[in-house]
Symmetry: D2
Subunit: 410 residues, 4 copies
């Protein structure tokens, strides 16, 4: 990238110390104009301080972009992903992965609006996020430059970073002097924690790592029930009350938080090659996944459901690896979306001490036929004699195999 | 099959009313000799009453086979399946499915030993079990006859069944006079309940349906911790104490029972075409699955793990549909088993109020490298600059796509 | 089905002896009104004789449906399938399989138009076609009855069939007195031959079996070149001349016929369980597949192409097994169609003695970049140093595996 | 790698100009000892000149390794791959891809024998081969250094290369003064040509590019027949004569060469991201693939065959991308090998003008049952009535879907 220095850079800016250092470093290293983009993805922090800090660091007001993208995030990224029941390596709900392409999309769009020739992010050279940011950016603009300061600079220790901050009059919050005991990423879907005190996967994560959910032991001693209504695969109402996508996820988060739902301690395989350990809290998402499976159980045909199950791991891997904006993810999305036409109805869940379980589901679109399945007289809905032929023909190739074995043994 | 009546039939015999009626019906309908096979699969019932009842119904002592197959069941069926992390339709641990092929295998073996030309089972014509029993039998002996009385006879109501029993002096336990409110299948891996009061999937299953686990609300208020040790993918010890396969599953069942773990309310797609609703309790299996995933997290390579995830739904479907003894299940098993060479180590789990969660794992075979993943100085284990090239080449095709789009838009 | 006799039946009627016998049998066996449907699928037979024969057998003129469905066949069935590069068991282009759902669709539509309560077909109980006809019919109308006389009647020998024909004044063409040496099915996509003289898979098929293509040895001694143009995955022009779907396939058939292209001798696994041997001639389709692959080579992204390749066998299996009208086929179609947006351009092929080979392809939508791939100076399009990082991170997990092996061996 | 210069390097050495320049460059750039490894993979060149040239360039005799690895190549790499019917992107038989891991394996082994700390190869930074060499090397020795001079040096033009050669007294064959019109790689399985005159994929490859096969137009006017015998998936005899793996492939190459079989003009997606165009000649391999498919048709169960087909694209991709020595390739190999137990028998092929077609196949292990498939009386082998039940239960879920649609439309 490097050959030619960028002239104007759009930076994914949180307002925190690290991205403030990056902001200043871009100005000093490249002498370039910086545009900041700060998004409300539901991470639970105020955005106005980021504006003030950007101004303090010399960013022109017209170069400060602060946006609430929560509805877009849930509607266009989280919900499409949940239609797939996507989990990475069997367990991870992809809370961080799914937010990155949206940020890159806005970075590139702002670059186009402001005439910037580069974008920059604060992800390190060891993680997946650099890949996700950059693949998305390149997929949207093949000529954009992407600057990843953590891979370039020599601020390789906490001491050097703080020194750089002080030299450049970057305010340092008191609690940032010392090193955080672990690293956190948060958005409306989840909070992830990793590094430092969490680096030994044999050791249980300390209680203070969990910030998003109460400890199951501290959750209410009484279960709570909840009804989630879906239309064409997306949640549209809670307990009968229609809500926007982001509102639904926010509500489910509150239910999940209260009951200690959605905690995960995972060692996962990163796209860049090593294994890492993360503590994830996905309270609303965990309820949503359970509910979506619940409604699919009665509204989705077996052939459709099994096909979805078979392609899901690949779909999840694509999102985890940063290929949201790729033809193959879009092809799989087309397949998944096609399956959701009738995934409409309501699921009843029981929340208790860390667990969300489906206990009932109903739908105008149900494929469940009591007439067919009943132990009672089915009035001819199903002819048990058909099963004999069904089994005989399914068995035929197995019989031919067994006959061969017998023949050869003689 | 029908054309020629069987001369000697090996019947899967539980000692209960239904299979006793079948026994008598086979004798009267076909005038054939009956051999009974009663297996202890861990269903929790005594077997000797089955012997007495068989004798009472005129079965010769040498024709009564009663066997404890629990170790074989866990070692050769349950454990191989758990190596795959198999779940059907995202949730079902296949507790009934995995027991059927073992029963068929013994039925066929006993037929060969006793010179019988047919086997018989008590599964109805609406369910999956008939398929599983029969596919397995035909795969092991292409010439065997399989008799499924429920598909043949005219005893199509409870009243007729009881009348037949009375006519034939089959003892009827008092509690069998009325109809059971639901139907139950049990073995060492799980208990399933379905039918009757459970037929409306909108209605929560009544508490009394659950027989294998305490209600999470009644489980201890304190979490319990547990360590499970694996060797090459199979559990071999609990809290450091080595145990046989069946003993381990029995122990895990007790842990799970106590903490209300492993309950599932599922509407699933049957192989024979309709959807049905089942209540499953798989206490030990649920813990085992969580633990197996936990140990794989540090010992299984990402490429291996993702391949396993991709083929798992097909593997689970094969078992559910009754194709345990099929070339494709065996091929997938070869793939899975190949992956487990280093799945050796110990997982620590926390059990609490219905939930089993991995909280730590360690192994001599671990692939987790703190040196690579650390946020601290990694002493050159990983060169962050490599990530730039990695991303550039992963992005190249996406850039070429974006350049095409841009070119065509001009 | 059986319980209640049908009142009015729509019969897939070719005008040949067998379906004429079926027609009469339906009238006599069920005493029902018969509607005939005769389709021009490009099988190369005149349809008017079928009308006359139907009238002769007492069908009312308003109950005789004769239709040219060639354009619909190619546009809505053949072309969508070719977008997938579908081949069954590595080799079979699915020429028979793809025609059945269209016939069933029209049978059911005509049943609705005429108030018929049943449809009937002339496929035997051993083959795949019965399954394809019936699954399609049931998928389009869950209450339709399907009558398959070959599974019901007792006309189980040639002698009995001819006797029935004579008794019922069904005219018998002289060449139908003796038995055909093999059975043929034909449509615009292919001709298949099977049975009788072809039943020993060790024996080469006699020359006279091939009816659709010249023997490669008799094909021109000079190669011929041909250009096929595609738009969004479908062929739209030959040698620059725009044509309708059916016209294109007809033209390609002529090219293929002349050069002996598209012969296949295959033993395949039928859905009903046994293996069968077929001789297929798919002249135009074989050229079309080669050409479609050729244009995808430059216009389809690698990620998209590999995903298509991975799901293709399942897609082909679904069509072969008769699941054209199923949610999972439609989901896969959505995925495939999504991939074809840019599959636009022209392929040049060389036809010679049985072989069609791509020798050139070009497109405005090409992703091929000579700038990137050239052995010459690429002016910075590609930085070879990126490959080092790319390889290092792809190798990382393999290194960690090798390090583990080394560690454990010590 | 770079940090510390290697002390002793094992170089994959062909004896040609390019690898001779690399040899000298390694000596001068790193001042390191060089060990040369020259393998006979069936590329059709003499190896002794490589020894003389190495000696001339100052390599100690004990550091010159020259080996005939043809048998190992075919037995341990080519044959296992052909068991899978592996083709990349539908067409490419992976002739180059499959040779690289063997070379790397020997490079690493020789490094261990000679105490070398690095290996080196002559692949450029744009292609797949660098990836294949290096992934294999790292998978076998996580600490080995790999030197890829083309990615490092500044000899970026032909002129500079020749100047370096002259400065260093490297003999330059007269025909190497000018630039070759395209680049060639050859081994016992195939010859590939790419670059320069082949870089425009719209232009037909000139005749002189093809070096391994006669032009189909020049091939014999009479077809030739050939019988290939397999045992457990591997070819073991031609026309009844048992031969070693490499001998068989050599023989098949001669058959294929004579009949112009195995030519392919392909644009493919490279792992490093761009598309490239290659001309491949795989004469024997093309016959072998056809024959292997032929024998599988009668000996491989449908379930096994379809599973193989489904996983094949991933298997081929792994080999293409250089992941031969990876857990997932080995897992897939275990699956494939498991399927081949009964792939034993003989295939008869017809070779004519570029095409190899199966015309017959037979085996003691055949699953083909004329009794089941026959159009004649099958003596009860198959009960056509079974098909009715088979279809009804396969249709059940489709009927339930259709009933839903109908219900919702009301």
């Amino acid at each position: 990238m490097p050959a030619h220095a960028p002239k104007k850079v759009v930076l994914a800016y949180s307002g925190g110390l690290d991205t403030s250092i990056i902001l200043k470093w871009l100005q000093t290293e490249y002498g370039c104009e910086v545009v900041t983009f700060t998004a409300d993805l539901g991470q639970g922090e105020e955005l106005e301080p980021a504006r003030q800090k950007a101004e303090l660091l010399g960013i022109k007001p017209e170069n400060i972009y602060i946006e609430d993208v929560r509805e877009e995030f849930v509607r266009d990224f989280v919900f499409p992903m949940f239609r797939a029941n996507a989990v990475y390596e069997g367990l991870y709900l992809l809370g961080t992965s799914i937010a990155r392409p949206l940020i890159s999309k806005r970075l590139v769009e702002i670059a186009h609006e402001t005439g910037a020739d580069a974008v920059a992010h604060g992800a390190t050279g060891k993680g997946n996020d650099q890949v996700r940011f950059e693949l998305a950016a390149y997929a949207l603009d093949p000529d954009i430059k992407v600057i990843a300061p953590w891979r370039e600079w020599d601020l390789t220790s906490r001491t050097k970073l703080l020194a750089f901050a002080e030299e450049n009059q970057i305010p340092i919050a008191k609690d940032k002097r010392g090193e955080a005991p672990f690293s956190v990423d948060a958005n409306l879907l989840h909070t992830s924690s990793e590094g430092k005190v969490l680096e030994d996967p044999a050791e249980e994560a300390p209680d203070y790592v969990f910030q998003r959910t109460v400890h199951p032991e501290d959750a209410p001693n009484e279960p709570e029930f909840l009804e989630v209504t879906f239309e064409q695969g997306d949640a549209v109402a809670i307990n009968g009350e229609a809500m926007s996508p982001a509102t639904i996820l926010t509500e489910l988060n509150e239910y999940g938080r209260r009951h200690g739902i959605g905690r995960l301690d995972l060692v996962e395989g990163r796209f860049v090659g090593m294994k890492s350990r993360g503590i994830y809290e996905t309270p609303g998402g965990t309820i949503l996944l359970e509910a979506h499976r619940g409604i699919e159980q009665i509204t989705l045909d077996r052939g459709a459901a099994h096909l979805k199950d078979e392609i899901m791991p690949k779909y999840a891997e694509l999102i985890y690896n940063g290929f949201w904006f790729s033809p193959e993810r879009e092809m799989l999305q087309a397949l998944i979306d096609r399956s959701q036409t009738h995934v409409t109805g309501t699921v009843r869940l029981k929340l208790y001490k860390g667990l969300a379980r489906t206990v009932g589901r109903w739908s105008e679109h149900s494929l469940y036929s009591e007439a067919h399945v009943t132990f009672e007289d089915d009035a001819g809905a199903y002819d048990q004699k058909d099963a004999a032929g069904f089994i005989q023909l399914n068995a035929l190739r197995l019989k031919l195999l067994a006959a061969r074995d017998r023949r050869l043994k003689r």
